[in-house]
Amino acid sequence: MNGVQVSTTVNGDVEEFVCHPGETLLEVLRNRLGLTGAKEGCGTGDCGACSVIVDGQLVCSCLVLGAEVEGRKVATVEGLADGNRLHPLQDKFLEHAALQCGICTPGFLVAAKALLDDNPDPTEEEIRYALAGNLCRCTGYDKIVRAVDAAAAELRKSSKKKASGRKK
């Protein structure tokens, strides 16, 4: 095989792998690194099930080549929780039953993370717009939107606490 040697960071860990030049990041994550949280819903950039964050940017990993992440930082759904402590988005998805079959869920969590990193206080319209690259066939989106809204509130509360803690 004419492999490409790639060195990158995935969820904070340094990863080295060799892949085909034509292999997508989605394939690399799933088949070489054993990170099967990102899913293939279409392979053409239309459903968002494969969403990951590369250097702070939300991308469809089915449209990025594995070789392209050389030297970059990749964040996937597997890195969302802090050890056993779930991320507030995950907590709120649980609490609001924002998933049914769950195949789209990793993509929504990652897309929502990218939104909240950027905009900690989104309106409902902004949430719906930001998630409009992700398809869900089961939930009708209602509970997903509410869960993201609740998680945003939660994150704002804890960052305020941190900020006022620092002041003291």
């Binding site: 099967t36 949280g37 459903c47 998805f93 649980l94 049914q100 079959c101 769950g102 195949i103 719906r128």
Partner: protein, 772 residues
């Protein structure tokens, strides 16, 4: 009880799914597995002259290539529908081969299976399979398929008509029509949709030591096992194990056994290695079974005051090129059970012609026949209201079957057991502020927009197959295990059934373990479909649990040296009625495993039989309010209200989720979704770019509430909630759009209501211009 029935308990299945550790079929990889790809017909119709596999066989990494000639030992995909016409002729059901035999009949029909070392190699080689056909004219349009001179898909049969199904009394209809003061007619398209669960179909087949194991998303592993064993492989049931781990949505299509799953098993047996197949999205559009696709003309006869005297409904239903497992059942009996829906109709005649065309076979899709039946009646009611100048709520009020008339036997001989149609509608009208609409309309008008509000009332007959089984066991540590034949692919049964058991036993929620979707454990079961799980699986679970408590009572009586009649049970403890002694459920379970009590442990299997021909009747009123911009044709859903009567709500969180999902699928069909074949039979909607599914930005907040009218025929009082949204949303939305367009003189429009169509309608342009 905090986690019992009626509580909004968060779902047990979620933690693994939100951390990315759910195990879907494509996440399953077996050592040394090979990969399969399918070569599909690019031709809609032709007799096969040759299939040249030489180049594919010689390609890098290829291990084997199979065509129909190589799999002669396998049977075809069976159709479960048993139907006869009025003359007693059975429905014509041709063989549906796994790989095309003699002819290809739709674009995407599997022609050859290629197995190689990697997925890429298999897919590249599949493109090298050379299919040569003598072209035959493609039959795509339903009217054309019905024509006498039409090309016939299945030559031996002589026409494309599989069955002409009839119900009701045509003479009685003629008499009602002759006596009517008013006649109202509609001509409707129920558009073809692609169910498109977000997980593409996948399969991993493994044959070893005389046993086939199939990892495969499904709506119930047991049913798949039966089809594979009996119809396809002709092997004993025990020789095939089907495991459905996580399944990424079903909506009807996963009740079907598709050919690729069987082919992975065949190839694995032939090659001595596991074989994996994972379809891509375009393949799914070509080869996942489709839904709906009816053309209907309906005629309603009314008296002077707007009371219905009778209805005639005539439908052409598209089966596609072959019968799916449920094909002709869906447009006939499945929908026919509630033909006429919630209205009193002294006379009724229902006729359905099921036709073969050169398109992908059509199967069940969320609601399966019921949404179509409801769409017809709701369009008729609105049209009658318009023509007679009666309020749209008022005309329904005058025609609803009243609760006092229930149980009400309809024209299909089905007894509608309960429902408060008028009260449910009134609740919806109130929550939607139907009365305040005019004010909002004027505001929109001021902004140059057309505003409309519409109502859709639906009833379903749900429950599916009348039998379901559950096995409940109490372990010596006091925990419970439950095995059911229904199958959760997103509905949250793990949670709902645990809630039922938690109630029955009075034990902690987290002490209940749930097993489904693996035929090594599930020995019987109808799977999930037809909104049947809570009512069928739920009752089987409850009764099995109660059986266990009774068994335990006998054991406890001996342990307490008393009579079973003196032993009470509450919250995992058996007590003597004078409270002088007690023993825990765990201790009883431990004792039951000892030789003294037969050693079988505390376990009970219950097979619940609802009784053939009986159903439950979820129903509800949905109200959509829309605004249309006449300059762009863009429709905005301002407000959506759903009031559903699904009987007892086991978990409001899960039930609301089912409503949301169903409504959005219904809105998708009404607004955006349409499978299009061109006149030559080529599929034009082969990706998410061409086939528009709703995203979050275009969907409304849905106001969900329930009017719980308990089902009188089961002890949980449940009716089912899976499909109502898909029934209520299309008529609510279309009626709202037509209400908005009324000022522009528009009285009819077909789904999907794309901006172009709405723009043309709003501006007096022909709707047909672009057709073809």
């Amino acid at each position: 009880m905090k986690f019992g029935v009626g509580q909004p308990v968060p779902r047990l299945e979620d933690p693994r799914l939100i951390t990315g550790s759910g195990r879907f079929t494509d996440d399953v990889n077996l050592p040394d597995q090979l990969y399969m790809a399918i070569a599909r017909s690019p031709y809609p119709h032709g007799s096969i002259a040759s299939i040249d596999t030489d180049a594919a066989e010689a390609a890098a990494g290829v291990v084997a290539v199979y065509t129909a000639a190589d799999i002669e030992s396998l049977g075809g995909m069976p159709c479960r529908a048993v139907l006869k016409d009025r003359q007693g002729n059975p429905c014509f059901i041709p063989k549906r081969p796994l790989l095309a035999e003699g002819r290809v009949r739709f674009v995407g029909e599997p022609v050859a299976a290629v197995v190689a070392r990697t997925r890429t190699e298999a897919r590249d080689a599949a493109e090298l399979v050379l299919l040569e056909v003598e072209d035959l004219p493609a039959v795509v349009d339903l009217n054309a398929a019905a024509a006498a001179e039409a090309t016939v898909l299945h030559e031996a049969h002589g026409s494309n008509l599989a069955i002409h199904y009839e119900n009701g009394d045509e003479a009685a209809w003629e008499a009602a029509a002759a006596a009517a003061a008013h006649r109202v007619q509609v001509s409707l398209v129920n558009n073809r949709v692609a169910p498109s669960p977000l997980e593409p179909r996948a399969a991993v087949g493994h044959y070893a030591n005389g046993t086939f194991t199939l990892y495969n998303p499904s709506q119930g592993a047991f049913a798949q096992q039966g089809v594979l064993a009996r119809a396809i492989f002709d092997e004993p049931l025990e020789s095939i194990r089907v495991i459905s781990g996580e399944t990424g949505g079903g909506f009807g299509i996963r009740g079907e056994v598709h050919p690729e799953a069987a082919l992975t098993l065949f190839a694995s047996r032939a090659l001595g290695a596991p074989v994996k197949w994972h379809g891509d999205r375009s393949e799914m559009f070509l080869s996942d079974s489709h839904g709906r696709d009816n053309l209907t003309r309906a005629d309603l006869a009314l008296d002077e005051s707007g009371r219905a005297l009778g209805v005639r409904i005539e439908t052409l239903a598209n089966l596609g090129a072959y019968c799916s497992a449920v094909g002709p059942f869906v447009p006939t009996m499945a929908g026919g059970r509630v033909v006429g829906t919630v209205y009193r109709l002294p006379a009724l005649y229902h006729s359905v012609r099921c036709l073969y065309t050169n398109t992908m076979p059509v199967a069940a899709y969320r609601g399966a026949g019921r949404p179509e039946a409801c769409y017809v009646m709701e369009r008729l009611m609105d049209e009658a209201a318009r023509q007679l100048g009666i309020g749209r709520d008022e005309i329904r009020r005058r025609n609803f079957i009243p609760s006092s008339a229930m149980p009400f036997v309809n024209h299909s001989g089905v007894s509608i057991s309960s429902g408060e149609f008028e009260a449910t509608m009134d609740l919806a009208l109130e929550r939607a502020d139907w009365a305040g609409f005019e004010r909002r309309r004027r505001r929109s008008e001021g902004l140059g927009r057309l505003r409309g509000i519409g109502l859709g009332y639906y009833v379903e007959s749900s429950g599916g197959g009348p039998e379901e089984e559950a096995r409940v066991r109490i372990h010596p540590d006091g925990s419970a295990e439950v095995i059911v034949g229904t199958y959760s692919h997103g509905q949250g049964h793990e949670t709902a059934f645990a809630q039922i058991l938690s109630d029955t036993f009075g034990i902690e929620f987290d002490k209940i373990r749930f097993i489904q979707g693996d035929t090594a454990f599930v020995k019987f079961g109808g799977g999930t479909g037809g909104s049947r799980s809570s009512q069928m699986g739920g009752i089987a679970v409850k009764r099995a649990g109660e059986g266990v408590i009774e068994q335990g009572r006998a054991v406890a009586a001996e342990l307490l040296q008393s009579e079973p009649g003196r032993v009470t049970y509450e919250a995992a403890v058996y007590r003597l009625d004078d409270a002088s002694a007690q023993v825990s459920l765990a201790d009883v379970a431990r004792a039951a495993e000892t030789a003294q009590f037969g050693g079988e442990g505390l376990a009970e299997t219950h097979r619940y039989d609802r009784g053939a021909g009986t159903y439950t009747f979820p129903n509800g009123a949905h109200v959509a309010e829309v605004e249309i911009d006449p300059d762009t044709g863009v429709l905005h859903i301002c407000r959506y209200t759903a009031v559903d009567d699904c009987g007892r709500v086991i978990n409001p969180l899960l039930a609301a989720g089912q409503v949301h999902g169903g409504v959005v699928q219904g809105l998708g069909q009404a607004l955006l979704e349409n499978v299009v074949y061109d006149t030559d039979g080529q599929l034009l909607t082969g990706s998410f770019l061409d086939y528009a599914m709703p995203f979050a930005d275009a969907m409304p907040d849905v106001d969900v509430s329930f009017n719980e009218v308990l089902d009188p025929n089961n002890e949980l009082g449940v009716k089912g909630i899976g499909e109502g949204g898909a029934c209520g949303a299309p008529p609510a939305l279309v009626n709202a759009a037509l209400h908005a367009l009324a000022s522009r003189g528009v009285t009819a429009i077909d789904m999907p209501l794309t901006p172009e169509k709405l723009w043309r309608a709003a501006n007096g342009l022909s709707l047909q211009e672009r057709a073809g």
